[in-house]
C-alpha cells in the first residue's frame, strides 16, 4: 500500500514541481512577476465559482479524449488522432443534431446525436485501426495523417453546404439534443459554459477503467499491451483486439463533442474543440489508467487552459502549452525512474544467486 501511494504520487509531484518551475522562469523572462501571475491564475480559475465552472467546462472534452487515449494506450497503441476523430464527430453531432425534427424529445434527440458523433469518431479511427491490423502501419503516423485529412474533410463539408450560408457553422441543434448547463441546477456556476457533460465524462471514465479490470475484453486488451506475443500464444485474436481498441478509442474521443457542440455552442463551427485531442494525450499519460488520476489530470490541464486565458492580457496564453509539455516530460521521467527502481528491487535478490550460474 505504501509503495502504491509512492508510485502514484512521485510522478505527479515531479510534474507539478517542473511545471511550477517552468512557469516561474518563463513568466519572469517575459518581464512579469511570477507570484502576481500565479495569484491571477488562481483567481481566474478556482478563485470564483464562475472560474471553477470554466475549468470544469475546459476539462470536459479533455477527460473524454483522455480516457479515449488511455483505452488505446492500454493496448500499447498511441492514439494521436483523437484530435481528428473529435473534429469529424463534432461535425456529425452538429449536422445530425440540427436536422432532427424540432420537437424531438431529449430522450431520443440526445442519444441519436451522441451516437452519430461516436460513430463518426469510430469511423475516423477505423482507418488507422485497419491499417494497423491488416498492414502493420504504425498508428502514430497514420493517426497524425488522419488529423490532417479531418481538417480537410471538415473544411470541405462546411464549404459545400453543410453550414449556414456565408458562415463556417452548422444550424443550431434542436433543443432536445442540447446538454443542460450546470448553472440550470447550481446557480453558482452562472455564466460559465460547464454542462452536465462533465458528469457523463466521469461516468465514461469510470466505465472504461472498470471494463478494463472486470471484463474479458478489457483484460485482454490490457494484457496485449503488456505482452502481445503471450496473448497470441493464448489464441487471443491480437490484431482484432488492437483494431477494436483503437476504434473504441475513436468513439469515446467523439463523445467529447458532448461538452463542446451540445453543451457549449449548440452548433458546430470549424475549429470548435481544437486542441482537446492532443490535450487528451497529456491527460492519459498523467492519469495512468486510474479513474481519479484521469479526472485530476483533466482538471489540471483544464485549469491551465482557463488560467492561460486569465493571464493572456499580461503573458501569452501559449505559455500553458509549454507547461503542458514540461509536465508530460517530468511525469514520464519520474515514472521511468520509478519503474527502473522497481525492476531493480524485484530482480536483485533473484539475480544475485543466479550470477555465475551460467548462461541465463
Amino acid at each position: 500500500m505504501k509503495h502504491l501511494v509512492r508510485v502514484l504520487q512521485m510522478p505527479a509531484l515531479a510534474g507539478l514541481a517542473a511545471g511550477w518551475l517552468a512557469f516561474c522562469v518563463l513568466v519572469w523572462a517575459y518581464g512579469a512577476s511570477p507570484s502576481a501571475m500565479a495569484t491571477l491564475l488562481v483567481q481566474g480559475t478556482w478563485g470564483t465559482s464562475y472560474g471553477a465552472g470554466q475549468v470544469l467546462f475546459k476539462a470536459t472534452p479533455l477527460l473524454f479524449t483522455g480516457v479515449a487515449v488511455d483505452l488505446a494506450l492500454r493496448a500499447g497503441l498511441f492514439n494521436i488522432g483523437a484530435e481528428g476523430q473529435l473534429a469529424v464527430a463534432s461535425l456529425a453531432a452538429g449536422v445530425v443534431g440540427s436536422r432532427l425534427p424540432h420537437g424531438t424529445p431529449a430522450v431520443l434527440a440526445l442519444p441519436a446525436t451522441v451516437a452519430a458523433a461516436m460513430a463518426a469518431g469510430a469511423a475516423w479511427a477505423a482507418v488507422p485501426a485497419l491499417l494497423k491490423g491488416r498492414f502493420g502501419a504504425h498508428e502514430v503516423i497514420s493517426t497524425i495523417m488522419m488529423n490532417r485529412v479531418a481538417d480537410g474533410v471538415v473544411g470541405l463539408a462546411i464549404a459545400s453546404g453543410l453550414a449556414l450560408t456565408g458562415t463556417v457553422r452548422t444550424a443550431d441543434v434542436v433543443p432536445g439534443a442540447r446538454m443542460p448547463r450546470l448553472e440550470a441546477v447550481f446557480p453558482a456556476f452562472r455564466g460559465s459554459a460547464a454542462s452536465f457533460a462533465i458528469v457523463l465524462a466521469v461516468v465514461a471514465t469510470a466505465l472504461v477503467t472498470m471494463a478494463h479490470r472486470r471484463t474479458r475484453l478489457g483484460r485482454e486488451i490490457g494484457l496485449i499491451g503488456l505482452n502481445a506475443r503471450a496473448m497470441e500464444a493464448e489464441k487471443v485474436p491480437v490484431k482484432r483486439r488492437l483494431e477494436q481498441a483503437l476504434i473504441a478509442s475513436g468513439a469515446i474521443a467523439g463523445a467529447a463533442s458532448l461538452g463542446t457542440v451540445l453543451g457549449y455552442k449548440g452548433y458546430f463551427e470549424e475549429g470548435l474543440g481544437a486542441g482537446a485531442g492532443f490535450g487528451g494525450v497529456a491527460v492519459a499519460l498523467l492519469g495512468r489508467g486510474h479513474l481519479g488520476g484521469l479526472v485530476l489530470a483533466a482538471l489540471l490541464f483544464g485549469t491551465l487552459q482557463q488560467g492561460g486565458l486569465a493571464l493572456n492580457a499580461h503573458v501569452p496564453k501559449e505559455l500553458m502549452d509549454v507547461l503542458q509539455g514540461v509536465v508530460i516530460c517530468a511525469v514520464a521521467l519520474a515514472d521511468a525512474r520509478l519503474r527502473a527502481a522497481a525492476v531493480d528491487a524485484v530482480t536483485r535478490p533473484i539475480a544475485k544467486p543466479a550470477r555465475g550460474a551460467g548462461a541465463a
Binding site: 504504425h138 503516423i141 501569452p316 502549452d321 521511468a336 525512474r337
Partner: protein, 303 residues
Amino acid sequence: MSAFEVIVSGTMLAQTVRMTIPYACASLGGVVSERSGVVNIALEGILLSSALAAVAVQGATGSASAGVLAGVGSGALVGLVHAALVVRGRIDAIVSGLAINLVAAGGTRFALRALYGSSSNSPSVRGVRYGDDWGLVLRTLLDPFLLLTLAAAGLLAWSLARTRFGLRLRACGEDPSAAQAVGVDVALTRTLAVTIGGAICGLGGTALAFELHQFQAGMTGGRGFIALAAVIVAGWRPWPALGACLAFATLDALQIVLQNQTRVPSQIFAVLPFVATLVALAVVSRRTTGNARAPEGLGKHPV
C-alpha cells in the same frame, strides 16, 4: 496558361525543388536518429523551433550565416534534449517527441509575442541572398540550401555505410544489447545520432523560414510528420528518403497550382499529401525483410 503548362513550367519545377528541402532535411534527420534506434516524432518541433531561431538571429545580427548557424544549432539542441530524455531518462520516445512538439508549438508563439509583440508572424528578414542575375536554372541548382542538403545526404549515406561510427550507429539500431556487449557506448552513440539528426533537421527549418523571409506561427504545417513517413516509406535509407520527399513536395507544389487553376474545392488537394502518405504507409508496412525494413532495435533499450 493551362494547368498543364503551369505544371511542366520551369518555375514550377524550381518551386518543387525548393519545397523539397525542408522535407528532405527533416527526413535525413529522421534517418540518422531512427537508424540508431531512437524513434523521432520530434522532427516537427525541431523544424519549427529552428525556423524561429534562424529568423530571430538573422533579424538581430543582420547576418544570414549567423541565422543558418542558429537554426542548425537550435535543431541540434532540441535533438540533444530528445536524446537526453529518451536515452538517459528512458522515457518513451513518442511521449518525449509529443512533449517537444507541444513545447515547440507553444514556445515559438510565446517567443513571437515576447520578441515581436505579434501572435502570427515575425518581421521579414532577407534570408540568403545569392545570384540575383543568374537566371532560374542556375539559381535553383546552386541554391545553398539545396547544396547543403545534398552534401548532408551524401555524407550521411557514406558514413552510415562506410565508417566505423556508422557501423556502430547501425549496430545500436539493430541490437542495442549486442552492441553494448561488444563495447559500443550505446547511449553516447544514440545521443550523437539524434543530435546530428536534429542539426540536419534544423537546416530544413532554416531553409523553410528563409524561403518565406519570415517566421509564421505553425508554419511547418505537419512537414515533420510527413518527413517521418518518408523515412518509413524509404525503408530508413538516406537517398530513397530524399526521393520520397521529392514525391511529397511535388504533391505539395501541385496542390497549390491546382487550387489556383481548377474549380475543384481546395480542401481536396490540401489533403492529398496526407492521403498519399497513408497509402504509401500501408503498402510499405507489409515489408519485413530485405534492407528496406525498420531497424530491429528501434525503440529498444540495451539490457
